[in-house]
Amino acid sequence: MALDVADPGLSIPANLPDEHGRFGQFGGKYAPETLMPALDELETAYHEAMLDPAFAAELKVLSRYFVGRPTPLYHAKRLSEIAGGAQIWFKREDLAHTGAHKINNALGQGLLAKRMGKPRVIAETGAGQHGVATATVCALLGLECVVYMGEVDVARQSPNVFRMKLLGAEVRPVTSGSRTLKDALNEAVRDWVTNVDNTFYIIGTVAGMHPYPMIVRDFQSVIGREARAQCIEFLGRMPDYVVACVGGGSNAMGIFHAFVHDPDVALIGVEAGGHGLASGMHSASLVAGEVGVLHGSKSYVLQDAHGQIREAHSISAGLDYPGVGPELAYLKDMGRASFVAITDDEALEGFQLLCRKEGIIPALESSHAVQYAMALAKEVGDPEKMILVNLSGRGDKDLNTVSQALGVSL
């Protein structure tokens, strides 16, 4: 593939973020002073680890034998037939250990925590997938683990709360603010400010202060690297579209990153449209937000006329976040990626369709991407075109939510 890009919209530097943690105007380090030395220390440790062949080897072995990578590239034939247009393919991150892509990053950062000699790990979680992944890695590596989770999410994702506890983690419900992911993130930062000496904070998405958006992207970029290589090896071609759901953006950046410099591959992020953009109850920061600063970085955020962060809404706890990773904001402004929104109801359609027609129960997060891919396939109309969807997680955790939405009592 041509890396030599003619399209000015694709003139994206290869080594982002810059030394200030910026992706264009986005990103940065809007953090309390207490954490600044820790962020510098983390960045240094990360770069050292990346240059250490022993670190890479350990990550590779565990990714293979513990996580189960590489995950398959899978042709959703029946779904493609129903759409009646382009071919839909999945990158099966739902088959990764713990049931979602979150393990890729948790494993990388867990190894980094161990390398830095930090005995205690904290994490925030929305749907609980990152919390489960972090708890899993901490069990594997012998690290103490505390997970912050909004009270609302604790209620709607109770199976994952129990999984975390089984794995030996302490789950602390967060009762401040909207009691969802953004508040869990606030509370994790407060814990880190207090215990920064012995604690490693494993952020689960490509948001937050530098160097986190870079670190999480790099550990998740294995998704896109594998998928790109699989496309070339098995199909002898590149996909025409890469589609991923976007909450904070880790699975989207994970699959997009390897394709950013492939000019013929369109990148499309699917945000949670909740009850519809007009209702104001959604999580579509890129589609309907404004530039602001939240959780340590500049990006698109949902905010009111006075710069207060608005509560997000989505049926899927993992997308229920009023911010988004700064690199996605940059790809949007550069015209390199485009973003759309899919409502709760549409996502539920995608969820059920995938269950019935492909025998896969997807996460509600991923169902947003699936539903959009169906519409896109139809619209494209050409069976020679290929849509690659990041099927970022499996849906076992969502059975309560879905049964409620469908009016079925379990």
Partner: protein, 267 residues
């Protein structure tokens, strides 16, 4: 260098042989009108400067007390505009002459626009701003706007700050430096860590007054701060006093609490 009232206030406290008393209260807590009364009561109580807290939905450097006050203020509909207007009333209607400092997170200011904010704040009579999520690395835009309008940009330092970071702050700071007493979030504490070595490291790099905040709750703490610093910032402990006081008695309770601390500052 600036038209700020801050240097004079610290100079006066020093001349009187005491550490400056600087209370923090979230504007709009428990209501906008009551917070205005409480600010005035504290002026009567002899404080040297006031930090007017600008409420924010996601105060990630704050403990439970200030978070709660912020949630109440936002529920009361209090915005950054209201905070600036409050300062204007304190100056114009009530004739307050001590330094008034706005303290709040960056997004409301960024959304308002740094230049517009500094312009409006200065016109209202604001002397300084403190933005806990704006370290030196990210401060350029707001710092330039504040300098242009004669507002002191008050940086925070923490016990974890390296010597290099202390130098970076010393280069940019004016007014005073906000020395965070401990590794943690805001909130009342029963005891403070040993502040001596940390404050000495900051003194080495800056001649500005050093005000110490986070955890300061009792007259004993004020004496401990007075031994090493030039000012004591009292936030959560004050909010607790306001919360526990009966309706109608909040301003009086705040004044009495602050007088108790101001007395300790003299000894």
């Amino acid at each position: 260098m600036t038209g700020s009232r801050i240097p004079g206030a610290f100079a006066q406290a020093k001349a009187e042989g005491r550490t400056a008393i600087i209370p923090f209260l979230t504007a709009g807590f428990p209501t906008l009108a009551e917070s205005e009364e409480i600010f005035l009561a504290m002026v009567r109580g002899g404080v040297d400067a006031i930090e007017v807290g600008v409420p924010f939905s996601d105060p990630l450097a704050d403990g439970a007390t200030i978070q709660r006050s912020s949630e109440v203020a936002i529920a009361n509909g209090v915005s950054l505009d209201d905070c600036i207007s409050l300062v204007r009333r304190l100056r114009e209607t009530h004739g307050v002459t001590i330094p008034l400092i706005l303290m709040g997170y960056y997004n409301p200011i960024f959304h308002y626009g740094c230049e517009q904010f500094a312009h409006d704040a200065a016109a209202a009579g604001v002397d300084g701003v403190i933005v806990p999520d704006l370290p030196t690395e990210e401060s350029d835009d707001l710092l330039a706007a504040c300098r242009a309008h004669g507002i002191d940009f008050i940086f925070l330092l923490a016990p974890t700050s390296t010597d290099q970071r202390i130098s970076d702050v010393a280069e940019r700071a004016s007014g005073y430096i906000y020395c965070v007493s401990l590794t943690g979030v805001t909130g009342g504490r029963s005891s403070l860590p040993d502040l001596g070595p940390y404050l000495a490291r900051v003194r080495e790099k800056s001649t500005l007054p050093l005000a110490i905040g986070f955890g300061i709750s009792t007259p004993d703490h004020i004496r401990q701060v007075a031994a090493v610093g030039d000012g004591a910032i009292i936030g959560s402990a004050l909010i607790n006093v306001v919360e526990q006081a009966p309706e109608g008695g909040r301003a009086a309770a705040a004044e009495s609490f602050i007088r108790g601390l101001a007395d300790a500052a003299k000894s």
